[in-house]
Symmetry: C2
Subunit: 405 residues, 2 copies
């Protein structure tokens, strides 16, 4: 018998009609003889509404209480989904994160999973029932309700797939799979039939919004087969697999872009050992998620250090970097929020030199200036002006012939 | 130090402004040096909205899932209340029914409390924090989420008051206390400064909507001091107390009415021993809550049996009584849904004969026909035509001089 984990995102269960349609789909899967564990997110925009309610009530948002509040959304969705299944004659039980055995640390609003002990879920399966688990939630070592963060339902699904030794983890979303680039920017973007974990990780790290990067990491680490697909068309989506040695690899598989970051530059930094360490240790100690880092060539004993950070962190990081400038007697700090990172990703890059050169040529021919460059074994990223990001994506998607199947 | 349980109903926490206002009130109580445990209901009409959502999704409403769904409402309210308290600098922690130690039976949607072990609530108090507990919820002996039923937050508050040995349990609502009759019917109805448990029990059993009868029973059994008061004016309300032997008792304290019941009559029943038992055993076995029962004087070996039942149960009871008519070879069954029960209540009745006679005289002078009569030691109820119920209440309230303080 095949055990399938099916995760449904907020839009997939956005209203009573959608919930009933998803229940119908589960019914079809069951008729195939499969066992099913469902993971559901909060309905539609409910999480946003709960956050707005918290803002209306208080300017103080203690993490423990935010988690108690937000997890109410998934709780509602699991109960309603079970009712819809019962209506079709399918026995089903809802489980909170705690009931499903998700033990987490105490980092409220963004808790990490420590252990998954899905005994009650397994018992439901053994009794021939569908288990419906609330996404993105657990119980902490302090016995408090915890939330795994936005997009955490994907991680719940993958972690359950691993803990229950499921055959496949299906992530149902509002797009039909993983695309060679954002179809809103390039309408001829192609749905990929397969993508490797490594490629998808690089894609989600550089702007591909779904699935959540954390769930892809978890799936790769534990060898969970992922299938990213649509809850609206129900057609086959994108399979995420281990790279096979003999796989005929496209040199470039996808183009991504990300406009959520800003560029900060500390200029006139003394070029001596330990300076970079001092800068980034200060930021890391304050939980600032620094991404792309570039240090210019030293000129007369001073250098410039640039890096990207999330927009939301700008005020906080400015405060910290101003202190650093003082300590290091550097020249100053500048911020450019109007940037975008454009990346090309492909497992075939490892054995095909010249991708970087071609990328730079394409951007040059479009007269798009490159502000920063960063590379990994299977990715090249360029920071460009935000206003030119979509032009860059279109040109690169065309130049690497990604629309052609 | 005084320990106060403060319970806030749905209208009291109906929107973000109300939640902040309640937090301000708690802050004032704390400045007096009291310790506080709050019990909150779901915001405004949220429970109704969740029930409507369940109807939209499914015609099947399994109890376990209904409880998972509905308790999401109180969960939200507790978290938001804690945030509002934090905003005022007051440390506070939310607790679900399970976290607050409410162990219940497995009767979903209407669970009974088996035991209250409020260790975590006590720890919060010991740490100088306000504990905010979700009303009307617990965890069953099967480890499932349970709901104590509509109005169950009053019971949660009283049960916590008992378990924590609190000095007083304050039930904050949208009226300023317990009234001599429904102020919507008789605008000169008087707020009672005190009422005895027994009187209040009779009142809530015969149409007085607040507080929930179950919570009054629990409070009487365990000697919990109750104070029913307003979350809008914050002024003193009605104290519910043990009757003191020397208490100067009003002969009649209150007039209530209830239009939620229907009258059923089984006519031509053979008048022999065991017949009434057979009728009411059949109804009890099907969980029909039969209230007032009257059996007429026997005439030629046959008699009529009348009783009242909730409107909702009419179809179900008709089915059962038709069977009974067949078994007993009785004449038939008739239903009158257009009835009302009007009651006068007063602890002083025990020692003052003549109240029943006066009640019947008042109704007669208004030309209101009495269909059924039932009495207890401190209550007399008459079933009248529904259309004359308010006239009866007005006349009785005036005749027993309840408007005069």
């Amino acid at each position: 018998m095949t055990l399938v984990i099916q995760k449904f995102g907020g839009t997939a269960v956005g209203d009573p009609d959608r919930i009933r349609e998803v229940a119908e789909h589960v019914s079809r899967t069951l008729r195939r003889g499969d066992q099913i564990v469902m993971v559901v997110s909060a309905m539609g925009k409910e999480t946003d509404e709960l956050l707005r309610l918290a803002d209306d009530v208080s300017s103080t948002h203690p993490g423990r209480e935010m988690d108690m509040l937000i997890t109410a959304g998934e709780r509602k969705a699991t109960a309603l989904m079970c009712m819809a299944l019962h209506d079709l004659g399918i026995p089903a039980d809802s489980f909170t994160g705690s009931q499903a055995g998700f033990l987490t640390d105490t980092t409220h609003t963004n808790a990490k999973i420590l252990e998954v002990r899905p005994e009650r879920v397994q018992e439901a399966l053994d009794a021939g029932r569908v288990a419906v688990v609330g996404g993105s939630q657990g119980v902490s070592t302090d016995n408090d309700v915890t939330f795994l963060g936005r997009g955490g339902s994907d991680t719940t699904a993958v972690a359950l797939a691993h803990a229950l030794n499921a055959d496949v983890c299906e992530l149902y979303t509002d797009v039909t799979g993983v695309f060679t680039t954002d179809p809103r920017v390039v309408p001829s973007a192609r749905k990929m039939n397969t993508v490797s974990f490594e490629e998808l990780l690089e894609m989600t790290a550089t702007g591909c919004p779904k699935p959540a990067m954390r769930s892809v990491e978890y799936a790769r680490t534990h060898g969970v087969r992922l299938h990213v697909r649509s809850a609206f068309t129900w057609q086959e989506g994108t399979w995420v697999t281990e790279e096979e040695p003999n796989m005929e690899q496209a040199i470039v598989s996808a183009v991504t872009h990300d406009v959520s970051e800003a560029k900060m530059t500390i200029s006139g930094v003394p070029d001596k050992p330990g300076v970079a360490a001092q800068v980034f240790r200060s930021l890391a100690d304050r939980d600032i998620n620094v991404d792309l880092i570039v240090q210019n060539v030293s000129d007369h004993g001073v250098t410039d250090i640039s890096f990207t950070i999330p927009h939301d962190d700008i005020p906080h990081v400015e405060e910290i970097t101003n202190q650093i400038v003082e300590e290091l007697q550097a020249q100053g700090v500048s911020v450019d929020p109007q940037i975008a990172r454009v990346s090309v990703i492909g497992a075939g890059m490892r054995t095909n030199p010249g991708v970087a050169a071609k990328m730079f040529e394409v951007l040059a021919s479009e007269e798009i200036n490159i502000a920063m460059i960063s590379t990994s074994a299977i990715r090249i990223s360029c920071v460009v002006q935000e206003s030119r990001a979509e032009d860059a994506v279109k040109a690169l998607h065309a130049a690497f012939e990604l629309s052609v199947s």
